[in-house]
């Protein structure tokens, strides 16, 4: 009987089999940010166990509230910073060189095919785009991960989502994943891994694959995962070139992390994306999805472009292509947050930030900020936000606020129109994805 990619990763990292259904895995990478890590650090200190299993396998960033907005968040940043220095964690990204965790860690080449990865952040599933098993965990799992380099998981069962057909202009990875969540429901993949396969995924950039995997948790999944291929190898090439004779060698080596043709799945769902239209959420659950065209006069107070879902350079290019030569609607505010410092600089060099500024957008430094209502773009009671983020829960971006999730294209078109619209009439030839 064949194995799925996830079963292969589990087998290669199995440290302990605790029961038929529970296993403990050795971890390749433990990622940390300043919201969920400090309590783990303080608890380890309190218990006299202030140690790390391997400082080279721990990566840390200040990203949620950056720069700190108050004394509490300054303290959280300080606890993380002091700890990183104390334990010689060299891959620590402080204010000025930081970025949203699920954007900056892949950007630095830290996540490799076949890796096991945890972080105290539910969107850790993003890193499955690299053919890694990457799971969001709570602070206690993170604490044990930091201290012992292990984490427990249940036996992995996978749902295969086979994406066929061709995406039409104006329809992007965010629309695909919103449609998938709409189909699976918010608990349709609980305790499962969503394996994204098929020609649509094979044609996607790493950025788009990260958008897909990022929202696997919104269907309850432990991880989203894509099979590593030439596109993965090309993305990682600057970091792995010295390990391989050439790109072909890397691609061949990565293929050991492909699911076998006779692997067993709990279910296989085929979705032809050819007729897919831009998708937008309504209500307070991410599986409440309908087409952008089905919205009529849903007036928006704020448009937010950024986050671990859609704050990468391709996303900013998409939005800027629509905003170029246009201004955002009156009575509406736009906020754009390049996800990392490097993306910010690249957007600056490409002239994208000038387009955002000319259109009336506020350009923010990298942070998770408003996505979870912590800083830099929080909504007032009763306000409505069109957002490229990943959660539309009640109160998510501010108490009493309403969030509609959508692609950067749809968000940019909505910013121009003032209410939720289908972006396709706004497309220019510059939108290539």
């Amino acid at each position: 009987m064949g194995k799925t990619i996830t079963e292969k990763i589990f087998a290669a990292h199995l440290r302990d089999q605790l029961s038929e259904d529970s296993m403990v895995l050795d971890l390749d990478v433990v990622l940390c940010h300043e919201i969920t890590t400090p309590i783990a650090i303080m608890d380890l200190i309190d218990k006299g166990k202030d140690q790390v299993f391997n400082p080279d396998r721990i990566k840390a960033v200040i990203d949620h509230v950056s720069p700190p907005k108050d004394s509490n968040t300054a303290l959280q940043a300080k606890i993380l910073r002091d700890w990183a220095r104390r334990h010689r964690i060299k891959d620590f990204f402080d204010i000025g060189a930081n970025g949203v965790c699920h954007a900056i860690f892949p950007e630095k080449g830290f996540i490799r095919p076949g890796n096991t990865v945890i972080m105290g952040d539910s969107h850790t599933c993003t890193h499955g785009a690299f053919g890694a098993f990457a799971a969001g965990v709570g602070t206690t799992d993170l604490e044990v991960g930091i201290y012992k380099g292990v984490c427990s998981f249940r036996r992995p069962q996978s749902i295969k989502i086979n994406l066929t057909g061709t995406l039409t202009p104006g329809v992007v990875a965010k629309d695909v994943i919103l449609a998938v969540i709409g189909r699976l429901s918010v608990n349709g993949a609980t305790d499962r891994i969503i394996e994204f396969t098929g020609p649509v995924v094979e044609a996607m950039s790493m950025s788009s694959r990260m958008t897909l995997c990022n929202m696997a948790i919104e269907a309850g999944a432990t991880c989203g995962i894509c099979q590593p291929d030439r596109i993965t190898a090309q993305f990682l090439w600057p970091f792995i070139a010295d390990q391989y004779g050439g790109l072909d060698d890397a691609v061949a080596e990565f293929s050991r992390w492909h699911s076998d043709s006779d692997a067993v799945y709990e279910s296989v769902i085929d979705i032809d994306v050819s007729d897919l239209e831009p998708q937008v959420t309504f209500g307070f659950r991410p599986d409440q999805v309908k087409t952008a065209a089905a919205f009529h006069e849903t007036v928006v107070d704020q448009v937010y472009i950024g986050s671990c879902t859609n704050g990468r350079i391709e996303d900013l290019r998409d939005a800027a292509a629509i905003l170029k030569g246009r201004h955002i609607a009156e009575k509406l505010r736009g906020i754009v947050v390049p996800a990392t410092t490097d993306i910010y600089r690249q957007a600056l060099d490409e002239g994208l930030l000038a387009i955002f500024l000319d259109s009336g957008f506020c350009v923010m430094n990298p942070s998770c900020g408003a996505c979870l209502g912590m800083s830099a773009g929080v909504l007032a009671e009763g306000e409505v936000c069109a957002s490229t983020t990943n959660r539309n829960f009640n109160g998510r971006m501010g108490k009493g606020g309403m969030v509609h999730l959508m692609s950067p294209l749809t968000a940019a078109a909505t910013a121009v129109a003032g209410s939720i619209v289908d972006p396709r009439p706004y497309l220019s030839s510059e939108v290539t994805r």
């Binding site: 440290r15 302990d16 605790l18 029961s19 259904d21 529970s22 403990v24 919201i35 969920t36 400090p38 309590i39 303080m42 608890d43 218990k47 166990k49 949620h64 509230v65 108050d70 509490n72 968040t73 303290l75 959280q76 606890i79 105290g120 952040d121 539910s122 850790t124 969001g136 965990v137 709570g138 602070t139 206690t140 799992d141 604490e143 044990v144 201290y147 012992k148 292990v150 427990s152 249940r154 918010v186 608990n187 609980t190 305790d191 948790i217 309850g220 432990t222 307070f284 659950r285 979870l372 209502g373 912590m374 959660r391 829960f393 009640n394 109160g395 998510r396 108490k399």
Partner: protein
């Protein structure tokens, strides 16, 4: 083995997420006790703001809910805010993975019962008194706040994964992992 239980409070909704259990605006706290006043602060039931000030909730040590309890963010604060409010058992039709693991990692219980059992429990008259017997793997519920034996006592069997049972016995994952790895 430890017995868990006490007065129970029912939250009649699917998909109660961790943002509702403890909003992100309180994640800047570096102590668990600071979370205490904010339990379920953003919860909506039937589209309306949930009244958190009911004495039945304040006295509860057990929560009972429906499908996919604790979905969304991985924040363990959603478990800690229960702990600091003396709630050590959540019973639901199903849980989100991370929330369920966080409960056992903290040495407290997330118990799944099937849809029929949950429907029965939601039909019982308030107040409810719950006892969890881990050695017999049963939840015992006495209606009208009565505990112990009696003709009205309802018994609901559950299954607990062997590892989760060991986490409860060890008092959580850190202690367990520290002794084993």
């Amino acid at each position: 083995m430890t017995r868990f239980g006490g007065p129970a409070f029912r939250l009649d909704r699917d998909n109660i997420n961790t943002d509702e259990i403890i909003p992100a605006r309180y994640l800047t706290e570096s102590s668990k006790t600071a979370l205490q006043p904010h339990l379920l602060e953003d919860l909506l039931i039937d589209g309306k703001k949930f009244d958190r000030n009911t004495p039945e909730l304040q006295q509860a040590t057990v929560l009972i809910s429906r499908k996919n309890f604790g979905c969304g963010s991985s924040r363990e604060h959603a478990v800690w805010v229960l702990e600091v409010n003396d709630i050590s058992v959540v019973i639901a039709e199903s849980f989100a993975r991370i929330f369920r693991q966080n409960m056992f990692n903290c040495g407290i219980l997330a118990i799944e019962l099937d849809a029929a059992a949950i429907a029965d429990i939601f039909a019982l008259p308030a107040p409810l008194a719950v006892q969890v017997d881990l050695s017999r793997s049963v939840v015992e519920i006495g209606p009208n706040g009565q505990q112990g034996s009696g003709s009205d006592l309802r018994t609901f069997p559950f299954t607990l994964n062997e590892f989760d049972r060991e986490l409860i016995a060890a008092g959580g994952w850190l202690a367990y992992a520290d002794s084993r790895y």
